[in-house]
């Protein structure tokens, strides 16, 4: 090995102009975002951790001897009209709502990014046809189709709910990515890749996509906040989960009963606060990420 001395140049692999570091600095510099970030981590780990020890069947079991109990030592946050423990429902409900939010965000992200990237990268006729399909999905009445779906699907799970939401929510990110991909493909590095013989799919996913990563991170985070809210909204209206699958939305839904709204605050106030805080926290972190990707807006 005559090149062995060259080979030694195995310097420690330094990470990119480190996006992660920039983001972290931005979050630390912005106290509100930092508090939100810590809150999110604590809540997420708490909710997912504690729910491992909770028995969902036990919690959603109707207990007629303990209906509408105010908070006490036995029931930390009281019970609802079926004698079900609100605290347990809140924990499991938050977990379910978060899971749906994350699942929907990831699935819309994967579909939307791939679709937008292909459409924008090829441009021309391909782009034209693909974008008309997006337009078609955009004019579909989302709420009505979800109601019909709820009526015809017998067993409603986190997965089926996420899928139906994904089917109507991927267009936004697809359009965003498409417009960016249209710009990127004209840049010299993409053209250079072509002259070097790199196949189109490789240019799309390994050259162009990394350059859109900051946009993707920001959009996905902000989408997450919106998706948590959307699930709660649908469940509140009664088009989400049934009562035996607690979610933040079903807990809020109890407040449709005027008596509950007025007299039994412990049933819906904690869930309302939870939705509010979760969305706010995710949004604060998202805003910090947004600033981190734009050097002119950075505080750190």
């Amino acid at each position: 090995m005559e090149y062995s001395n060259v080979e030694v140049v195995e310097v420690e692999q330094e990470k990119a102009p480190s996006m992660a570091k920039v983001i972290w600095r931005e979050i630390v510099r912005d106290k509100v975002a930092l508090i939100s970030f810590i809150f999110l981590i604590v809540i997420t780990s708490l909710v997912y951790g504690v729910s491992l020890f909770l028995n969902q069947d036990e919690i959603v079991k109707v207990d007629l001897f303990a209906i509408n109990q105010p908070p006490s030592n036995e029931f930390l946050l009281g019970t609802d009209y079926g004698g079900r423990d609100i605290f347990g429902q809140l924990i499991i409900g938050t977990r379910n709502s978060l899971s749906i939010g994350i699942l929907v965000t990831l699935m819309t992200g994967i579909i939307g990014i791939t679709y937008g990237l292909v459409s924008g990268y090829y441009g021309g006729t391909v782009d034209n046809i693909m974008m008309r399909i997006v337009d078609f999905f955009l004019i579909l009445p989302f709420l009505m189709i979800v109601i019909v779906f709820v009526a015809i699907v017998p067993k409603y799970s986190i997965w089926s709910f996420s899928l139906i939401m994904t089917a109507f929510l991927w267009m936004g990110i697809a359009r965003l990515i498409r417009s960016k991909a249209l710009q990127e493909r004209e840049l010299d590095y993409a053209q250079a890749s072509k002259t070097l013989g790199t196949p189109n799919w490789k240019i799309m996913f390994f050259q162009v996509l990394p350059n859109l990563s900051s946009l993707i991170i920001v959009t996905m985070t902000l989408n997450l906040a919106a998706n948590i809210g959307l699930e709660s909204g649908l469940s509140f209206l009664g088009f989400g989960f049934p009562e035996d699958t607690p979610s933040l939305g079903t807990l809020l839904g109890y407040a449709r009963n005027p008596q509950t709204l007025e007299l039994r605050w412990w049933i819906w106030v904690p869930a309302a606060i939870m939705v509010f805080l979760l969305m706010l926290a995710v949004r604060n972190v998202g805003e910090a990420l947004k600033r981190a990707t734009d050097a002119r807006q950075r505080r750190g």
Binding site: Y3, V6, V9, A16, L187, Y189, G197, N211
Partner: protein
């Protein structure tokens, strides 16, 4: 036989408009360009911005769609091979104008330079690394550079990375699209001399696209002058610089700055003379649309788009 033969190349971009996005016209970016490059030589393509020189280069390498005409490389017509993976594509590479946008800022130098190798050669990780380090040494960068990102380099160094990438596959023809116009003057000389060195070492043929006549004079054996998508004059370096025939070429040559201050007054007078001739004879040398006439031989190597009445 010439390495590259371009015959009556036309690249037209459609103008769409009206109802149903119909084609209502065309921008004739390149309109009937012919030239040929001999092996090991440097051919300079000169013209003002928008004259179609870059479009010509991109059409040859397959980035722009060829409307009509033939591009023969080593005897094989390239028009049928648009951006397909083939050995022919491997033999033509391009150096881009802007060293800042032509390197992907998210990739390490190793990944950037190894990209063509990964497409055409099956190398193991260690072989690949060794090859990239050799290439970097060839362009005068340290082998440690492989773990760095493009933004950690200066403009000249970035252009060298671009060159390393272009020569990785040992191409026969390199299309250099204004390779130094984004660099400052001290670095320009460095990169140009380096390009001449590797030309000798690797027996490269260059298609050198530029608007800077000083650089073209330094680099090229043969030169073609473009104006509005057409050739106005082509010939050897001596033909163009010593006996410019077309008023457009004369004006270009007169515009080359002279560093000797003693000649300043003389240069100014000469330049004004040429400018006056250009204004007076403009209508003779260009047709109603302001385009150049067809080329005519005035010697074996020298072609000029002279007016019909001549």
């Amino acid at each position: 036989m010439a390495l590259l033969e371009v015959n009556d190349l036309k690249v037209h971009f459609p103008i769409r408009g009206g109802i149903l996005n119909r084609k209502i016209g065309a921008i004739k970016a390149v309109d009937g360009v012919s030239f040929s490059i001999e092996r090991g030589k440097t051919y300079g393509l000169v013209g003002e911005s928008g004259s179609g020189k870059t479009t010509t280069g991109k059409a040859i390498i397959g980035l722009n769609h060829i409307t009509s005409g033939t591009v023969k490389f080593d005897g094989v017509d390239l028009a049928g091979f648009t951006s397909k993976k083939s050995d022919i594509r491997k033999d033509i590479q391009m150096i881009f104008q802007d060293p800042y946008s032509s390197l992907n800022g998210r990739k390490r130098v190793l990944d950037i330079v190894a990209e063509p190798l990964r497409n055409f050669e099956n190398l193991t990780k260690t072989e690949e690394k060794k090859r990239v380090q050799e290439l970097l040494e060839q362009v005068g960068l340290s082998p440690e550079s492989i773990i760095k990102y493009p933004h950690q380099f200066s403009g000249g160094q970035r252009q060298r990375i671009g060159i390393a990438r272009a020569i990785a596959l040992k191409p026969k023809l390199i299309i250099a699209d204004e390779p130094v116009s984004a660099l400052d003057v001290s670095v320009q000389a460095q990169v140009l001399n380096f390009m001449q060195d590797i030309q000798k070492d690797l027996n490269l043929t260059y298609l050198f696209i530029s608007h800077d006549l000083g650089i073209v004079k330094h680099m090229c054996d043969e030169i073609g002058i473009m104006y509005k998508g057409r050739y106005v004059e082509s010939g050897t370096k001596a033909d163009i610089f010593n006996h410019p025939q077309h008023i457009y070429t004369k004006r270009l040559v007169a515009a080359i700055p002279d560093i000797n201050p003693v000649n300043r007054q003389q240069q100014k007078v000469y330049r004004e003379e040429v400018e006056k001739e250009y204004q007076q004879n403009y209508n003779d040398y260009f047709d109603q649309e302001g385009l150049a006439y067809t080329l005519r031989h005035i010697s074996d190597s020298h072609l000029v788009a002279l007016p019909q009445k001549g």
